[in-house]
Amino acid sequence: MLLHESAIKQVTGEAVFVNDMDISSEMLTGHVVYSKYAHAKILGYDLKQAKALSGVYAVLSYKDIPGENQVGPVAKDELCLAEDVVTNIGQAIILIAAKDKNTALEAEKLIDIKYEVLEPILEIEKAIEKNTLIAPVRKIERGNVEKELNKSKHKISGVLETGAQEHWYLETQSCLCIPGEDRNIKAYSSTQHPSETQAIIAEVLGIKSNEVEVEVRRLGGAFGGKETQANHIAAWSALLCNATGKPVKIHLFRDDDQIITGKRHRFLSKYEAGFDDEGKIISYSVELNADAGSATDLSMAILERAMLHADNAYYIPNMKVIGKAYRTNLPSNTAFRGFGGPQGIAVIETVIDKIARYLGKDSVEIREKNFYKKENDNITHYGEKVENNRLQVIYEKILKSSEYRKRRLEINQFNSENEFEKRGIALTPVKFGISFTTAFLNQAGALVNIYKDGSVLVNHGGTEMGQGLYTKILRIASLELGVSEEKIIVNATNTSKIPNTSATAASSGSDINGMAVKNAIDILKDRLASVALELLGSKSQKENIIFENDFVFDKNKPGKKILFKELIPAAYLKQVSLSSTGFYKTPDIWFDREKGVGNPFHYFAFGMAVTEVLVDTLTGYHKILRTDILHDTGDSINDEIDIGQVVGGFVQGVGWCTTEEIKWDAKGNLLTHSPDTYKIPTIQDIPADFRVELLKGYPNPNTIRNSKAVGEPPFMLAFSVWLAIKDAISVVGNHKSEPEFSLPATNEVIVLAVEKIR
């Protein structure tokens, strides 16, 4: 069993995170002063007093930015520091560098910012009314939706609200910038996207990318929250570093982090579906309205993924998906595990669930009826064929292993005997497309160095945020080069080693970086094979040379072997280069946004969960009694790590579906900015009986070692909890009436839904 490569350091406290770095007594603390209003004109402020405070080294406003005042990653609509208007609470206005945090806080008190308050837009409904679209409306359509809806024997329609979600990575956003020679700057940033962080630092400082080096050894969790929004913190710390000529570290306070940074997008979705007596959906129309917050950030890509997942695991012949993202006066919403997928899937899962109740059938029958099939009914609404479909096999296996049907009867029995406590059960699937839907992002680089003593240093462009990427890369390198793991080190991710990388996101970290590492190793092996042939005195072909278990040999004469560590110095003496870059781009993927068709995904990941819950219908309190998960990771590169991703992703999804409710007051102040008010799952909230398995014996073709991406898909298995709760509520009305239900299903939502039914 291969352990997490950092586990020993993590468990002894030696693993260094950005905030643990204390590089010199010269180091200053950076601090950001942000807007207290959701929408206001800045009338003025005076920085003199703050600047004069002893221990303060710099106080900066937008006027002090030497380069461009811009941090927008896609659209250039996000200022680094506010100018004359603020558009959300938490928007940065002034930066302070001081000898310590207390001095910085003292300095902040000396800055009196005068505002003229303007009317904010804080609800999607209001944004829709005012038509604050952030970009043109998107559409994906197949078949004739209106006609088929009109013809349908049965129809349902409704509105679903899905809530925002705070990332709550344990390590808040942090960055340490150190000045170097000339204009150079080195940033240790907790970023998922070192190359973009590098580019943005260069832009705000008005210098070139080759003068900025970004290094990331590990992050204390990210989940999408550090994909673009780590850039802000890095830019602020770089500006202060540049202004003072000293190292500057920013590590946000928890409440500041929650107030400043964006969340998972809230969605308000409207749907209509037509279906036959059997529950087969014939036509489905859905409009997804996303709350983008105050800037574009990644909203359009997130909306796009929501639209591409509006089908989830179901073949629907006539389908229309409209996507709209609206500007509001909340912090710009951003990537979060699933990246819109969960919001799109929530709607179709609601539809399936409602159809079952409408027809008086068990929802598993409706799901099975609508699943994508193998031979026909296998083209998605955007035209991509669902290949290597694992839905049927997973469905059959999990139905059996979870004893779904038997438990359904037991639950019915329990419910008939208990008046206020009700049980519910639900099975939900996920089909999740793997690749960045912006096709050009699907590229990765690597740099593999072999040193004369036979030790190996692997560099790649992905970041380690706990998901086990470095551990997987280590195994991939070891297996591909045939060298034991002790001889290999996976280096901290660094923009000087690997340039122009994509974010470690879209679950694609090991897929693309693993392939790039393999590519570099293939190049090295090709060079080394010639040397090996000579040493072995063989006339054989290079292709026959095998690298395995620290030995090198001709596969036709396995008796004669040389040690890898003997081959390397020999190759060096023969003037063979022992270093190679590697590159990978995902083949054959494209997407035409205008037409809404394409092959945006390299492949799909599949999984299913069955969850049983107990709900106290008087208080809304609920408990997850048991969850069974069967998830497809192809030939897993590391079972332990993949199971950890499935469990962790699922539980994070449970949080979004149940307890994690974000509230703002009428002025846009975040009310849930502490762990006491914002409830991420605790150890008490996970299923009492939790059985997680990986699907075995189904390799994934054309990927690194036949594996599959795993980071995001399991998040969406949490819908089994959400719908099991709904199932339990609907018992109150004998499964006849439809509970009024939104996401998250907090105790309050549950109690109200129950009252409505009664």
Binding site: V11, T12, G13, E171, F253, G644, G648, S674
Partner: protein, 155 residues
């Protein structure tokens, strides 16, 4: 003022008395295993043991720890430098992802297992309910504590 940390005595200038214990051990002693994750007494990432009791030290002042035996994650290893069996169990069970919660988690579990070396899974959950982890989903953390409990029973 004297602090006893990981069995070592430190002479602390009185001027540090009003400083938060987390800041003092992190900034002055370079013991960075205890993390600043919420600084609101709510997540357990800063948990250490004071006289074998778990304390979240983002809310403890240096002077309040005077004379008490403090155990931080840096003092958890066996005297011969090998991992303590509980640490090893965290590694083996896959209970660590990003690792930011890990030091607090391990120390909280340690205090608990010293008192209750034969816990049920329910009791483990109860003991760790004040420690937040955003990565693992906790299942493997419970496994790790369960795995390590045998060692505490024997010792």
């Amino acid at each position: 003022m004297k602090l006893i940390i990981n069995k070592k005595e430190y002479n602390v200038p009185d001027s540090y008395g009003e400083k938060r214990l987390t800041d003092y051990i992190r900034d002055e002693l370079d013991l960075t295993g205890a993390k600043n994750a919420c600084q609101m007494n709510a997540c357990g990432a800063c948990a250490v043991l004071l006289n074998n009791e778990v304390i979240k030290i983002c809310h403890v002042l240096v002077k309040d720890a005077e004379g008490k035996e403090i155990l931080t994650i840096e003092g958890m290893e066996n005297p011969d430098g090998t991992l303590h069996q509980l640490q090893q169990a965290f590694v083996d069970a896959g209970a660590i992802q990003c690792g930011f919660c890990t030091p607090g988690m391990v120390l909280t579990a340690h205090a608990f297992l010293m008192k209750n070396p034969k816990p049920t899974r329910e009791q483990i959950r109860k003991a760790l309910q004040g420690n937040l982890c955003r990565c693992t989903g906790y299942q493997q953390i419970i496994d790790a504590v369960e795995m390590a409990s045998e060692y505490y029973r024997k010792n």
